[in-house]
Amino acid sequence: MSALLHHPGYEEERLRRLSEQLPCRELQAGMLLSLMGQPHQYSYPSVFIYGHRSSGKSHVMQVLLKELELPHATVSCVECVSVALLFEQVLLSFFGGDAASLLPRSPSLSDFVRVYRQQCSQSPAKQTRYIVMEKAELLRDADANLLPALLRLQELVEDNVTVILLTEIVWDRFRPNTGCFEPLLLHFPDYSKGELQQILSRDKHPSYSAEFYSSYINILLGVFYSVCRDLRELRHLAALNFSKFCEPLAEGKVKETDTHKLWRNMEPHLKKAMQTVYLREVSSLQWEQMQQMEEKENGAMRGLSAHTHVELPYYSKFLLIAAYLASYNPARTDKRFFLKHHGKIKKTNFLKKNEKTSNHLLGPKPFPLDRLLAIFYSVVDSRVAPTASIFSQISSLVTLQLLTKVSHDDQLDSPKYKCAVSMDFIRAISRTVNFEIVNYLYDFL
């Protein structure tokens, strides 16, 4: 397969090493190589590489540039809280520290280009220089003309430099509205099932045979491939469940070759893991503990997502309930719900025709403070003095993210809030104070 990575510019030996380090990415690597051409030749000013997470974009770039010892600067745009950092890193890795120190405080693009030019006039490029930008989508948040400038950097600095952008987002979402220099688009496709199998099988357990591990991976993919193709996640799952997989071996019940038995032993656990794919519940260790627990207490799934119950002070609970009611009931229905003897107001009396979808689909509406308190006083059974601590509880519910403050902070009079908890959560809460919340919700009338 090293035929794919065949290029006059470099000796075979290196290329072979490359292709070893880049499983299932020879095609892309070859493509890139041929685009880059021989070191001294010009390459396309800017290349835009897009593809899903963990499809080997930055890995391929790193390996290529490192192995072939090409002059390059790799910058992660997350890290560049200010453009200054970006410029510095580039200059640093091309021309060394003293160049970076030439930049003024909070430099502008033109400063950067100036410094770059004078530097590369001193040390002109014998080889193409590469600037690799990871998470390039963040460049759009930087000031408007950074991205266009980078795209045509080769022209601006008159140097043999190529800017490579790596991102998960398609180019159409990048293009500024006045247009700009169009980069060369390259797509890194996601791994096929076979490729995943091949890659995952690579990190085999030392104390087991490779075939055994790859058979394990085979089973794993059989279950998860349909719902999850993220290499990273799959690797996590593999690490998570492997010990379970080889349990019967340890007990000496089964031989390595007897895949079917192993599979039958394995399946229920994988099914369980299926429920929580993507939510990194716990580390492998705690996962195993949980598995043991479940043997005892009839299988209640207890990951991070399972502990949704929150202990709250008595009045906080009622405040939360009141908030929920306030944000999911239309204000005009309060009379119906909370007036002691509202006579006979049927739903039809205040049912608006245009309301086709229920509020639980549309989400909570903001409500003013006094409405919250009014409802609170009517739902809480005992009569409560409006003490300072009641009010402080409201604001602390906000800091706990159970309420969200909609109005701006500096607006003191009549602040507006929203309730930020789910139906199940509020159900659980109201059960603890045996308050039947469903009877008070307009949607469930």
């Binding site: 075979e12 041929s34 693009l109 266009p148 601006l156 043999n160 169009e182 349909s226 689909l361």
Partner: protein
């Protein structure tokens, strides 16, 4: 193995190949100037005249070069400059200042840049100037007391001219154009822009000082011209070291351009865009496939290259999604159909999805809300869906209103290509209204 043997045996081929690569790459990637501008002779002549007048007879001037991106504006200017500098005294006297709207983002920076490019830092040192105009005048004065009594002509090139129009009350433009009007120092202001409406951006006072000279580069060649351009771009010059190879190469290019399929491909590209850049990209992709193994561009290469160029990125991304995420997208599509493209939120989508699960799903697995939420987040991260209002902090994620950034056909296409997509999901997607 066999290939390697070849490379060992006839080295000169390798030599030539790398020569070709180098030469053509310089054309395609580095915009190496052609010997004579194709298709824009008139503009070339006109501009050359103008600049000559400034450079030689010291007349002030201002001109705009307007044309779509990749139409060859910069190339034109550079050609003109090259030709201009062949003249003796022009070369002797003319000073050049190149500014770019992308770099000089405000007038302070621009002024610094000008000073630098005129090599006047030491003259200015730390003088304080009342106004921008004062400063600029001083600079030009400083030039005056250069070697000759009469001041030297200065050529100001403003790339991305429209961006300069956004600077604070357009001071730079105002002053430059003002000077170009009044006969203080002989300067020529050349603006390069891709905006046809650029004059609307200028303030009245600035506009009035601009000599309304515009050079339009609206490149709409006929297809044959386009084809010629391709040919010339690819073919080797006569001074190529190895004549034989050059001949073969050019011949192969000829045959390539005759080829029917190639013509179709080029036709398609021609219809989509006629400019240099996109063509260069295409040819670059072809060129990159040339190696010692196959020392010529075959039609297949061109087809492949055009496939790469015209690939639909969104479809590519959809291909990589998990089945769950795909289902969510289908649900969104249905919602769009039902509510005439009103924005939707996660709850609605989940509802739709649940309906599907209840009705007819043997293959799909019923996931918890958190998992769905994660999938939804991922879609948002990929910007396949966009929040309607940017104020995302206030509202919960489940209820944030979204829009789908894909259209019907893209989704369907993706579904067709999707590896081992369950049939019931397919049917669900096909079915009208959820």
């Amino acid at each position: 193995m066999s290939k390697r043997k070849i490379t060992k045996t006839n080295v000169p081929v390798g030599e030539c190949i790398s020569q070709v690569q180098e030469m053509l790459r310089e054309r395609l990637c580095h915009q190496r100037l052609p010997d004579r501008p194709e298709g824009v002779e008139a503009q070339h002549k006109h501009l050359l005249e103008l600049l000559k007048r400034t450079a030689v007879h010291g007349e002030s001037n201002s001109v705009l070069i307007v044309g779509p991106r990749g139409a060859g504006k910069t190339m034109l200017l550079r050609c003109v400059l090259r030709d201009l500098l062949e003249e003796k005294e022009a070369q002797k006297s003319l000073l050049q200042v190149h500014l770019n709207g992308l770099l000089q983002t405000d007038d302070r920076i621009a002024l610094k840049e000008i000073t630098r490019q005129l090599h006047l830092e030491n003259v200015v040192e730390d003088k304080v100037f009342g106004s921008f105009a004062e400063n600029l005048c001083f600079l030009l004065e400083a030039l005056k007391k250069g070697d000759r009594s009469s001041s030297r002509p200065v050529l100001f090139v403003l790339d991305e001219f429209d961006l300069f129009a956004h600077h604070k009350n357009q001071t730079l433009l105002y002053n430059l154009l003002d000077i170009s009007q009044s006969a203080q120092a002989p300067i020529a202001v050349v603006g390069i822009t891709c905006r046809l409406d650029v004059l609307e951006l200028l303030e009245k006072r600035v506009k009035s000082r601009f000599s309304h000279r515009q050079i339009h580069l609206l490149s709409n060649p006929t297809f044959t011209e386009y084809l010629d351009r391709v040919r010339t771009q690819l073919s080797l010059p006569d001074d190529f070291p190895d004549d034989k190879f050059a001949l073969d190469w050019n011949a192969s290019i000829e045959t390539l351009c005759e080829d029917k399929s190639v013509e179709d491909v080029l036709q398609r590209h021609f219809n989509s865009s006629k400019d240099f850049r996109s063509m260069h990209m295409l040819l670059m992709l072809c060129l990159s496939r040339v190696s010692v193994a196959k020392p010529a561009i075959k039609p297949a290469d061109l087809l492949e290259a055009s496939r790469l160029c015209l690939a639909d990125a969104n479809a590519n991304m959809l291909h990589g999604l998990s089945i769950l995420e795909l289902c969510l997208i289908i649900a969104m599509k249905h919602l769009n159909d039902v509510y005439e493209g009103d924005p939707f939120n996660l709850q609605m989508v989940h509802n739709e999805f649940k309906k599907f699960l209840q009705r007819k799903s043997n293959s799909m697995y019923n996931f918890e809300q958190p998992v769905i939420l994660k999938a939804f987040e991922h879609l948002q991260q990929l910007e396949l869906i966009r929040p309607v209002d940017s104020s995302s902090a206030k509202t919960q994620r489940e209820y944030q209103l979204m829009r789908l950034m894909l259209d019907h056909s893209q989704i369907m296409e993706a579904l067709q290509k999707y590896p081992q997509c369950p049939t019931d999901v397919k049917q669900w997607a096909m079915s009208a209204f959820g």
